[in-house]
Symmetry: C2
């Protein structure tokens, strides 16, 4: 068990607190596409990602999506324990974007830990502030950036995360990340292709001119 | 000094913590329009509103604004103490929307309080979660709601806050709240006037049919 190395405040907890966590911790493995958390009714507990990738997004009544942030190795998923924080008044969905391994600290154990431990409660604040910062970045993108810039920035981000220039992404998937319609993305990608920035093929987008994309994304 | 009644966790603090707060607390009064906090460089400390109204907003490079949330009597302003939380990676501006009285707990005193006190750290998390929830509501509005619905909902909210049907608001001010352009708001308000929902005059909007506005805002 190397959970200790994944939980940054481990050494600031008492023996009793460490014991309760280790005694209740479960380890899970889910396949790509699994929905781990869906709305406020669902309160599995705190998730600590060992490896893989999770995506947090919101859904409109009409089924449109927008990605809020991603969680990677060593990240903490708070909103799967949102029942512990009564002021969290919104619902996010958490889905595995890759096969993912993670630990779960049950909600009740996490609640007691926050009540007792100032380091745990402060860490909780910091994780919330980090997610809040990502959502604020998104608000600025949505408000002040046109869709061509957002698509360009998204393609570069995906390429960096995946470590490849050939992105296996449908236009629909890109639209769901950005909270727009497929047609908008298709139009934009065709324009990018005409400008030599990408090459399109079935279910994939290949980056051809990252410099030009970056210049557009920054503009 | 009735600060104690405005700080919900007062009774959960030790005598020493209460003493440090009372010994460092300042009381301030500012006029409508005063900017109390501007970006991350500025770190006055935790503000506790006694009376009045504050508005938190973000600004684009081009000077466009969008309102994130408002703070009323007894509300706590965290982001004026954002230097205490290193994961807060965004800048908000806080402005008095009315003449406002508030207390300030200096950042250094607040930092020490969070470090020592689990109740204080948990309260900090809850306040952050409440602001986060307001921003998530805003994201949903921006993403899934058209501007006519947002203007209608905004007029009703203003009317409820001010306790009047006659809102002293320019089209520019409404645009700044909603993060759009004045022309968009003007076009929308004229449409509302044609539909009998409002009556426009210089620097003011009078609500005439709240039911119809509410039906539009909810739609």
């Amino acid at each position: 068990m190397d959970f200790q190395n994944y939980f940054p405040i481990w050494n600031q907890l008492t023996d009793a607190q460490q014991g309760r966590i280790l005694g209740s911790l479960t380890r899970r493995q889910v396949e790509k596409g699994t929905v781990l958390h869906n709305g406020s009714a669902d309160c599995a507990g705190l998730l600590v990602v060992k490896s893989g990738r999770l995506r947090a997004y919101i859904l409109s009544d009409e089924g449109r999506e927008i990605t809020l942030y991603r969680l990677f190795d060593r990240d903490i998923c708070l909103f799967s324990a949102s029942c512990v924080m009564r002021s969290v008044q919104f619902d996010v969905t958490i889905e595995a974007e890759k096969d993912t391994q993670f630990w779960v600290i049950p909600a009740e154990v996490y609640r007691q830990l926050l009540e007792e431990s100032a380091p745990a409660a402060n860490y909780n604040s910091e994780v919330m502030a980090a997610r809040f910062s990502e959502v604020m970045w998104l608000v600025e993108q949505i408000m002040w950036k046109s869709m061509d810039k957002r698509v360009a920035a998204f393609l570069l981000e995906e390429s960096a995360i995946e470590g490849t220039r050939l992105l296996k992404l449908t236009h629909e998937a890109i639209a769901n990340h950005l909270g727009t319609h497929r047609e908008v993305v298709t139009r934009m990608l065709r324009y990018f292709q005409n400008e030599g920035m990408v090459k399109l093929s079935r279910g994939a987008v290949e980056l051809r001119d990252e410099k030009k994309l970056a210049a557009l994304g920054r503009a």
